[in-house]
Symmetry: C2
Subunit: 314 residues, 2 copies
């Protein structure tokens, strides 16, 4: 009954130690250490090297350390065990902090006030629309999207949501499918993107989509907030839409290439707020505790929770 920790970008050994203290009766091995492949029943992954989980005949579950599982599904030698993603109130709350912060920064023109402060300028055109005059559209109504939509509505925004399959969210107008997308975009001043990265969503944030956003809103043009995945966005299209005024501004936490290269044009733009993919970092102890608990429940005969539908990709 071995748990294999297979991460890249994060420290395997630190995570292995966390699991050893939570599951003292198991063998926990970090990728790179010697282990018996037949003994591995569970794997914990974050961007493991492709193929690293192949040839584990008794693998019963693969746990992703984050909410997104595109890093797993990109491995074409991934074993056919259930993939379990993290659904964690702490991570969900952090994502909503990010989304509400950035929606309010654009509503309240905070980048403008920061620029004016540098010039010691007290603005004489201080009046702003209130949140209820601004329409936010949340793309993706999973755990993260629903929590963000609810909190944006409490802050006063006029919120709608869009998801691939129909979803009801209390107090939020919801649209779905390709049929609902046009009407959703046409009433959206601030587009918040919390979609999973799948074959259906790769590159969805492109010029065609931007041109369908509301152009009659109170912010002087549509605003994009992408806290999902960099692969959702066509970055050349974002830059062109900003230059042409099809987008007024953007907050981007994710990029096609991360870290964002020093010569990226996003850094220098006054109309883009760049953050270093930390909208919702997983709190390591909470995540590890949740995985350990799932393993214990599973062995007591309970079903695994938050299992990914591989066909849908989330």
């Amino acid at each position: 009954m071995t748990l294999l920790v297979a991460l890249s970008g994060w420290d395997c050994e630190v995570w292995a130690e966390r699991f050893r203290s939570l599951l003292p009766d198991r063998d926990v091995v970090a990728l790179g250490e010697p282990f018996d492949r037949r003994e591995v029943h569970y794997a914990v992954s974050w961007k493991h090297p492709p193929g690293a989980l192949a040839g584990l005949p008794n693998l019963a579950a693969i746990f992703s350390l984050g909410a997104g599982v595109d890093h797993l599904l990109n491995d074409d030698r991934l074993p056919d065990a259930p993939i379990v993603r993290i659904v964690d109130p702490d991570l969900t709350g952090r994502m909503s902090e990010y989304v509400v912060l950035h929606a309010l920064m654009h509503l309240r023109q905070q980048p403008r006030y920061i620029a004016q402060q540098r010039k010691a300028l007290w603005d004489d055109d201080r009046f702003q629309p209130s949140a209820r005059e601004v329409r936010v559209g949340v793309m993706g109504l999973g755990e993260l999207g629903r929590d963000a939509a609810r909190k944006l509505a409490i802050m006063g925004f006029d919120v709608a949501g869009w998801s691939r399959r129909p979803r009801q969210v209390d107090g939020i107008a919801s649209y779905s499918g390709a049929d609902g997308l046009d009407a959703f975009l046409a009433r959206t001043d601030i587009l918040v993107v919390l979609l999973p990265l799948t074959d259906a969503t790769r590159g969805i944030l492109n010029e065609d989509l931007f041109s369908r956003l509301a152009q009659d809103g109170r912010l002087g043009g549509p605003v994009l907030i992408n806290a999902g995945r960099g692969g959702l966005q066509n970055e050349a299209d974002i830059l062109r839409a900003l230059d042409e005024g099809k987008l007024k501004a953007a907050s981007l936490d994710v990029f096609v290439e991360e870290p964002l290269p020093p010569d990226s044009p996003f850094w220098a733009r006054e109309d883009v707020i760049v953050t270093p993919h930390n909208a919702a970092m997983s709190a390591p102890d909470a995540i590890a505790g949740q995985i350990a608990q799932q393993i214990r429940n599973f062995e007591a005969g309970e079903p695994l929770l938050n299992v990914v539908d591989r066909a849908l990709g989330y």
Copy 2:
């Protein structure tokens, strides 16, 4: 039955026109125009010149165009008519937008990320505390403070409130009076100030108060957010507390002298976010409509709402 519009800083004639269209059966005069002083039954004020409302023998009510009424009580020739302040959901919502925005900016280190963006720097120390690890204290639990406290709690912050007189706010620990102030300050990482300006609160934000704030919090030191009145704060003490590390950072929407003079040291500080007293601007149509409605209700025999207690000053 004349309504006198007595403003400074705002355009009297624009406001007079608003009231004429809402109360077509009244005479509405702007200060400076000729009028019969005995005919004036109502006055609308925002920072009227001291004495401008004296000698109005039939004055039945004085309406303040904002939530604060310190501008009225500073006039020692103010007639003894009831003072009515604005309690407007739109204004309340705007203030909570400001408070939540600035609390999240400090929580999420947004000024740091803006500075790093200017240097094209992708931070490798990206982990942050979550809202539930940070204690916000709201001073002043009137309409504005209660709404802000509720929304901060929904965003996940650990919120408490303090008010002069005991106040219950659902789900919020509340402290009151001089006796409760020490315990309140000792558990506060972010201090949000929405107090009225009265003899009891003038200069209350001083070195003594700052030194009683929590020094063991997750933000590396206490943060001050003042969206109340500039007169609440001792600005030399704020600067010294920032220099000495008794305060980590501040968001200031109000100042002793407004507009903030170009040579103020606040402009250039990286640890202070300056906004030009626009945390919660009144939406003119909503405010004028509310005052016109109060006049109609009053004449139909109903009591005036939101009347100020002159002894308390709010």
